[in-house]
């Protein structure tokens, strides 16, 4: 299946994705996503920012969903059923709308380290792509960092290529 391909066969360059350090604010990350991805001629999918530490170690990833969750006021975040206020969705949207001018602007100054998805799972260049697929499926990830000798970040493998490769294998077997 998948022709025995390994991660390095599908890997893309880390420099296709924007990089930021963990101390950048959510506001700065929003600006970067807009300017260097969405409005750029080089709009690479998925839209993800890679987050690094002072020594250029990957510490996490940041998507638009992570950013928006970070801007959501605390009391609007999911609560248990017993705690749910009896308010319609329209009311909630109005509440958030009002808060965007105040509360969310304050929250946008938080560092991205508070809202990113920590990088805990990695693959090696010579790992089979099925391993990458397994890790992404079971951890709800759209990409995985690829390491060389368990240390140096050399690229990322994305669900797009993994899906493409596996679907080719399935479809060609018919």
């Amino acid at each position: 299946m998948a022709g025995g391909k390994v991660v390095k066969d599908l890997m893309v360059d880390v420099f296709d994705f924007p990089h930021i350090p963990y101390w950048f604010s959510i506001r700065q990350a929003m600006g970067i996503i807009r300017k260097s991805v969405i409005e750029s001629t080089k709009c690479v999918r998925p839209i993800v920012i890679l987050v690094f530490d002072e020594k250029y170690n990957l510490v996490g990833t940041l998507t638009r969903i992570n950013i928006l969750k970070g801007l959501e006021p605390k009391f609007l975040k999911p609560v248990t059923k017993a705690e749910v206020h009896e308010e319609s969705e329209v009311d909630l949207s109005v509440i958030w709308d009002n808060l965007f001018s105040t509360e969310s602007k304050k929250l946008a100054e938080k560092p991205v380290s508070e809202v990113m998805v920590p990088a805990k799972l990695f693959v090696e260049q010579d790992d089979p792509i099925t391993k990458a697929a397994y890790l992404m499926l079971h951890n709800d990830l759209v990409l995985l960092p690829v390491l060389e000798n368990k240390k140096k970040l050399v690229g990322v493998v994305r669900m797009i290529e993994v899906f493409d490769e596996l679907s080719n294998a399935i479809l060609s077997e018919q």
Partner: protein
């Protein structure tokens, strides 16, 4: 004791300057001690007052001595003089000054252009930038906080090099083959924020020297450096020559 050699073709004030500088650098004249009066120096070295004045003035200009009105002249903590249009690396500058120095690399990572970095480096907003933050120390005392930004596509090597022991300028010129042809310096004053104050050992809000430098290779902007210097340990000078 070293004395003035009148058979030496070197000018007397220069000989005296070197003798006195030797006393400071060897610790013979310790920091904060008062040096002998002009009259005493004249007698000791058998030179005129004018010779003593020029030698002492030069030592004061270079930061070895400070004059206190009505009190005398004192040995001070070494202040590093720095020419404005400098190509000299911190390492070269310190070696020239003959002081014990070290560098701590606080960050060596990659960022995207924020604020006006794209304009400063003349790059598009989707280009990656190598970000280096270093604290420079003399005798284990922090004196300079330096942040450097370089377009990654020009040369990625500085991301991997040992910058505690190697000069970034040397890496750029020798390993990346990027010849620095000109530097623009912008000098100002900054007020330290909490982190800068903590790193430089000064209270928050203290005034410090700010030197912003744009390095060019031909017409290309190669790096932008923002240096915050302790005002008591640095001074900048301009030397002008009539043509």
């Amino acid at each position: 004791m070293t004395l003035i050699d009148r058979d030496n073709p070197q000018k007397l004030y220069l000989q005296l300057y070197e003798i006195l500088r030797g006393k400071i650098e060897s610790g013979d004249w310790a920091v904060d001690t008062q040096i002998p009066t002009e009259e005493d120096l004249c007698k000791t070295y058998e030179v005129s007052k004018a010779t003593v004045r020029i030698a002492v003035s030069e030592l004061a200009r270079q930061g070895y001595l400070r004059r206190q009105q009505g009190k005398g002249t004192f040995v001070c903590k070494r202040v590093i003089p720095e020419g404005l249009s400098m190509f000299t690396s911190f390492k070269e500058l310190m070696l020239e000054a003959g002081v014990s120095f070290s560098t701590k690399v606080l960050a060596q990572t990659v960022i995207m252009p924020v604020d006006d970095l794209d304009i400063k480096l003349d790059i598009t907003e989707d280009k990656h930038i190598i970000y280096i933050k270093r604290l420079r120390l003399i005798d284990n005392e922090p004196i300079l906080l330096q942040e450097t930004y370089m377009p990654h596509h020009i040369c990625p090597l500085p991301l991997e090099e040992d910058l505690e022991n190697n000069s970034l300028l040397e890496i750029l010129e020798k390993k990346c083959g990027v010849k620095i042809t000109s530097v623009q310096d912008y000098i100002g004053i900054t007020y330290l924020n909490e982190e800068e104050g903590r790193l430089l050992g000064l209270p928050v809000g203290s005034a410090a020297l700010l030197l912003e430098q744009l390095f060019y290779s031909g017409k290309n902007k190669i790096k932008y450096t923002r240096s915050i210097k302790r005002p008591d340990r640095f001074k900048l000078f301009i030397e002008l020559e009539r043509k």
